[in-house]
């Protein structure tokens, strides 16, 4: 087995993090949401635009060569720029590419980001709302799916939930703890899309989306973008924000498919996490806060197992223990996550990880004494995964 280079540990830092307006932002395109988030990240960092020589970004899916469109709107030429296409795993992958490019002298300061107008897109008409599709038509299956009435990412992930429940006795109630705890975190976050309390009683009474998932098992449709700036540890010293170190990262891709092997109950978070832990020289016990890609409640549960926060099959008991709450053993998705803050395909979770490492939050939002954050990204037809471990400088 090839071991990831520990030389990459701690050589780069995130020096700026920003978001667009989140939730329902009618009349703003995906591209302009990304630009808004990037502008905010640049502005808080103190980085001069003329010092940015890399752009790695993703979104919106319906456009081609997205980094080019972003560079045009920000007036930036780049030594190193590209667009990643690993779905929700792209955003951490972008940061990994940025670190490697900086390490090898291909760029010095790299802007990474993602954004999408998914709320506006799915609320253009009643038909758009019912179809609830955020993918362009070109990504939809032509056979072996639509003829059976099989539509949408909720169903695909629900297959994993059914199988996990069958193998390990996981229950709907377990999924409910995840939805309820993340909503409670969102209520502490003034920027969050969801403003109403969610109780376990509300969760039990939810309408079906595709069983076993109901409404509150599913992440939000949001207009949302996020961005971060990566530069070398040396350059980070002279900037405005406390630098947050990139301690490790890893990726793994179960390209044989979500439906192959045991991939729907043992995700590629396992191998991506092992790589990131090894690069960082850390393990699950060292992690103070986790920001887990929560497209659906079940995906949080399996990733907690796959990352080694508990044993495989024990995720249900782990989430029921209250571990995920602020003040719990592993405060998770402390901004509300994609289930309750806003869905930015994992980008907002990177921003939240950075902010937790800066210790600038008011006490009711801050994970006390947090030194290490683990962030996950998952997507690309459910098989691509990326892991990022951040630490206080």
């Amino acid at each position: 087995m090839i071991h990831p280079s520990t030389e990459l540990r701690d050589i780069c830092a995130i020096v700026g993090a920003g978001t667009s307006r989140l939730g329902k932002v009618p009349g703003v395109s995906s591209l302009d949401l990304i630009v808004e988030a990037m502008r905010n990240a640049i502005s808080e960092s103190g980085v001069q635009v003329s010092d940015i020589d890399g752009i790695i970004c993703r979104g919106p899916d319906e456009l081609y060569s997205q980094h080019q469109l972003v560079g045009e709107r920000l007036g930036i030429n780049a030594k190193f720029s590209t667009t990643a296409t690993n779905g929700g795993a792209s955003q951490i992958l972008s940061i990994a590419l940025a670190v490697m490019a900086i390490r090898h002298g291909l760029a010095t300061t790299v802007l990474c980001g993602y954004g999408r107008d998914a709320w506006s897109r799915t609320h253009k008409s009643e038909e758009a709302r019912v179809r609830n599709e955020t993918r362009p038509d070109s990504q939809l299956a032509k056979e072996f799916g639509p003829e059976y009435g099989y539509f949408g990412a909720a169903a695909t992930h629900a297959f994993g939930a059914t199988r996990h429940m069958h193998l390990y006795g996981t229950t709907k109630e377990h999924f409910g703890h995840i939805a309820v705890d993340f909503r409670e975190h969102a209520l502490r976050n003034p920027d969050a899309q969801m403003k109403k309390v969610l109780t376990m009683e509300d969760y039990r009474a939810q309408r079906s989306i595709v069983r076993p998932f109901g409404l509150y098992d599913c992440s939000l449709r949001s207009d949302a973008a996020g961005a971060v700036i990566v530069t070398s540890r040396e350059r980070a010293r002279d900037l405005k924000q406390p630098p947050v170190l990139i301690k490790g990262f890893g990726t793994y891709n179960n390209l044989r498919g979500w439906f192959a092997d045991d991939n729907m109950v043992m995700t590629s978070a396992k191998q991506a996490g092992e790589t990131a832990y090894r690069m960082a020289g850390l393990g699950p016990r060292d992690v103070d806060t986790a920001q887990i890609y929560d497209c659906f409640t079940y995906m949080v549960l399996t990733q907690l197992e796959d990352y080694g926060f508990c044993k495989k099959g024990e995720g249900g008991d782990f989430v029921a223990s209250g571990a995920l709450r602020l003040g719990g053993a592993l405060p998770t998705n402390t901004s509300g996550g994609q289930l309750s803050e806003a869905h930015g395909e994992g980008m907002l979770q990177i921003v939240e990880g950075v902010r937790q490492m800066r210790h600038t939050y008011p006490a009711h939002r801050q994970v006390k004494d947090a030194e290490i954050a683990l962030i996950s990204g998952h997507g690309g037809n459910q098989v691509c995964h990326s892991t990022l471990i951040l630490g206080r400088a």
Binding site: V130, R131, G149, R207, S208, V210, R211
Partner: protein, 135 residues
């Protein structure tokens, strides 16, 4: 009341033999001439050994439900009469897993690892779709 047609498969060139066999109520999969394994979805290269020598061979049609989901809501008007319905991933005895519907049983009674066998639904004069019922 006018019936809204369901989506019909739009086969890739490599899946045409699959749908032609289904039209004749046979479940056929590509099988490698070198390693004898079957695979799905159809392609011209064996994903087990990368051989390009393969044949279309009829399989037993028996398998078990690996996992499943239940649709209660109507996301496309064409499925109005079907809800609640089951979409299942069926693991065939020969190994490959294929997506389909499990019919002939109340959705609430479907379980993982339940034994099923193929049946064919003639959705038009030219298209039949493989589905599964409890064995």
């Amino acid at each position: 009341m006018s019936q809204i047609p369901k989506p019909v498969p739009q086969p890739a060139p490599e899946s045409l033999p699959y749908w032609e066999a289904a039209r004749q109520h046979r479940l056929e999969l590509p099988q490698c001439e070198d390693c004898n394994k079957h695979w799905f979805p159809p392609s011209r290269t064996c994903p087990h050994c990368l051989s390009t020598q393969f044949k279309w061979s009829q399989v037993s049609g028996r398998g078990k439900v690996f996992s499943f989901v239940i649709y209660d809501r109507i996301y496309r008007p064409a499925f109005t009469e079907d809800v609640p319905y089951v979409v299942a991933l069926v693991e065939l005895e020969e190994g490959p897993r294929i997506l389909s519907n499990v019919i002939g049983i109340p959705p609430d009674d479907v379980r993982c690892d339940m034994a099923v066998t193929v049946v064919f639904d003639d959705v038009s004069d030219v298209t039949s779709v493989p589905k599964f019922k409890p064995l």
